[in-house]
Symmetry: C2
Subunit: 428 residues, 2 copies
């Protein structure tokens, strides 16, 4: 068995390929069979007069997504996808498929999500998920090369996280455990060991949101750097994001073509990215006619106005304390605000990163925990980090699905994860 | 601020290093301060007669794990760890630490686990977790280089997994969701899209085990390959394991030294690894006096006997069907057994991999689901994979913590994960 991606090594020779039938067509004398083997797609051409009747009949009987063995001579053909074609001498149905539920027509999204285990095979989904895999590897490579130590943080935790009220809870041998909304607090603990650390994994929010930008289970990378301030934190973010985009352009050009992505919009994504303070953003929005008031969080509509006519991502920094999480460091220049940033992607993709310098003053952090009515005993270890050689540090969380949606130009983040979990969806 | 790992670029110059105080000592005239900044460890030498009284007093007041700024001239010194030393001219206590709970003495393991957020800073823990991070990156690199596509599988699932009865359950907007024990079934669905796939992430077992080899939350990598049989599956396993070991030896030599690992035991870990069928293993054990009977799973004591005098990991393959999971393919040569393997590590580390060829016959798989009293509706999508172009495929799961324990030579896998989750431990 030869893999389709290796056909170029066998031009002029007879080979056998095993793959799933994507399409068949033909007329009375010539039949075409397109198969996919996971490494590529190739078309086999069968001339009726050149083969036994049984071979022809076998080809005619092939149903969509049947597993077939195609035997034939490899021919270079510039018009063929992948550059090669097979002149068939043999066709075998290794595993015939029942009538395939996903047809080359418009299906409703619920139908497709019900069949996600099969929908993965289709070309747009394959392209999107391949970009995801490349983005993930590029993140690991960037951080590894820059001396970050990966630190896997727990999913099962005590009552600790971003927002009480959106936690999934499970019985833990008689106690209650909660599924982590972030690994950040834990990576902070590893900074005094390794200076630059990150976690990479699934996070959970029991949010009753049904927007195209929400999942109950999504993946994040969360780097954290000892001695970095908010400014250095933004520099790291723009370097990482630029690297990810560059790698995707370089190594996923075929996939981006399948996705019909206008890559010219990505080619300028290089440091540095423009920055605007939250206060400046409010003034800008108000000048544009918005009724938003200082102190409110920005909504999707506000973000859209801010991003009009922009090619590059935009940092909005130093939000009001009341709009952000308890662990962010108070801004010494304006104590109504905290030293934080959101990174907004262009083209309507919105926030892909949230970052901040962390509060490193023990008493101030403890007061914030109380203000937010969080259970201090669950945060005792986190407060400890401010007792034993507290240190300035900053970090951020980049959402994988949102970032991949932007890079691929796809509308819904639910297509950017192999098995999306939504409020009403736990299957397959 | 200069990073300790970069001191070699500054020999003869005065620099300032920020770091956490690991130790101080000295006598009336000279004082030594060892600090760690996450990139390395360096000793500063302070001569009382050479500095102001205030500088001396500051050094004398430094407590363990205080954050300090040391200013001094970089001197090359072969005897120093890292090869450099600082002749101090200035010492500043940036963040004094309260009395540090972890002292240079023997602490009970519960005490250390209660303080895991601080214990991470100690040299053995740093070394072990750095090896873990290297192992993880090496796994991603090996699979990426070998054309595997990463496919992130869901944590929140319907009633599906390895063993009912050891599932963590959570309310999911009125339904029940279960935390995944494996991503395998989901990666199988991605094979027809990408041929070679893998998932990498946390998995969960609500097992009431308290052994040194169990965690309730542990990480696995699970590769899956379309068209691979059980034999090719074992070949992939020995290639991956050999690569991991080679990378650790090559890039973590300092850490393995700190851990006092006898690396000569790892140097021969290269393909191929010996193989023994389960049936052969039973005969071997019985000849050694064991009372084990054919059909029973191997226990830790049996594994120890099998591994006596072995340097290389050992494959034990083709276990009895009754001892293994429902999805393993029946062995055509002996239908009492399934086409599977466990990979046992030497030196008492036991099973680090479980793998198998998967049952690809729809009716046989469905019968196994019924035999095991599993809910067929939850597995409907999994059965679908056998309806639409079913294909031979094989895969395995490698446990990260067990593998790192073996490579580092540490006894307990709970030290091989940053924040271990045990039956009685959910904190910090």
């Amino acid at each position: 068995m030869v893999e389709i991606k290796a056909l170029g090594d066998h031009v002029g020779n007879e080979v056998t390929v095993h793959g799933w039938v994507e399409a068949t067509r033909g007329h009375g004398k010539v039949a075409f069979t397109v198969v996919r083997d996971g490494t590529g797609v190739v078309q086999g051409v069968l001339v009726k007069s050149a083969v036994d009747e049984a071979v022809w009949e076998c080809q005619q009987s092939l149903t969509q997504e049947s597993l077939a063995a195609l035997t034939g001579t490899v021919k270079a053909d510039d018009r063929a996808p992948g550059g090669y074609e097979l002149s068939l001498t043999g066709v075998e149905a290794l595993a015939p498929a029942e009538e395939y539920p996903i047809q080359p027509k418009e299906h409703g999204v619920d139908f497709l999500l019900d069949h996600r285990h099969l929908w993965l095979r289709s070309s747009l989904q394959r392209a999107g998920l391949r970009v995801r895999a490349e983005v993930e590897q590029s993140i690991h490579d960037f951080l590894y090369t820059n001396d970050f130590v990966r630190v896997d943080t727990p999913i099962l935790t005590g009552a600790i996280g971003e927002h009480a009220g959106t936690l999934f809870e499970t019985d833990y041998f008689g106690d209650s455990a909660y599924m982590a909304q972030t690994g950040q607090l834990y990576v902070e603990a590893a900074c005094p060991a390794f200076r630059r650390v990150y976690c990479f994994g699934p996070t959970f929010r029991a949010e009753k949101s049904k927007t195209r930008r929400h999942l109950t289970e999504f993946w994040m990378v969360e780097p954290e750097v000892a001695f970095a301030d908010s400014n250095q934190n933004m520099e790291l973010q723009e370097q990482l994001v630029s690297y990810i985009v560059e790698r995707a352009l370089e190594r996923c050009s075929e996939e981006l073509k399948v996705l019909e992505r206008d890559t010219s919009k990505l080619e300028n994504v290089k440091p540095s990215f423009p920055r605007m303070s939250y206060t400046e953003a409010i003034a800008f929005l108000q000048a544009k006619g918005s009724e938003i008031e200082w102190g409110k969080d920005l909504g999707a509509a506000d973000e859209a106005v801010l991003m009009e006519d922009r090619d590059l991502p935009l940092f909005v920094h130093d939000y009001p304390k009341t709009a952000k999480a308890f662990y962010m460091k108070e801004n010494p220049d304006d104590p109504r605000t905290v030293l934080c940033d959101d990174l907004l992607a262009p083209e309507g993709y919105g926030e892909i990163i949230g970052g901040s310098q962390r509060e490193d003053d023990h008493d101030r952090l403890r007061a914030r925990i109380h203000e937010e009515s969080l259970p201090e005993e669950a945060y005792a270890w986190y407060l400890d980090l401010r007792k034993y050689g507290t240190f300035p540090h900053s970090g951020f969380g980049l959402g994988i699905e949102r970032t991949v949606a932007w890079i691929t130009g796809r509308h819904h983040i639910r297509e950017m994860i192999p098995f999306p979990r939504l409020m009403n969806r736990l299957y397959p």
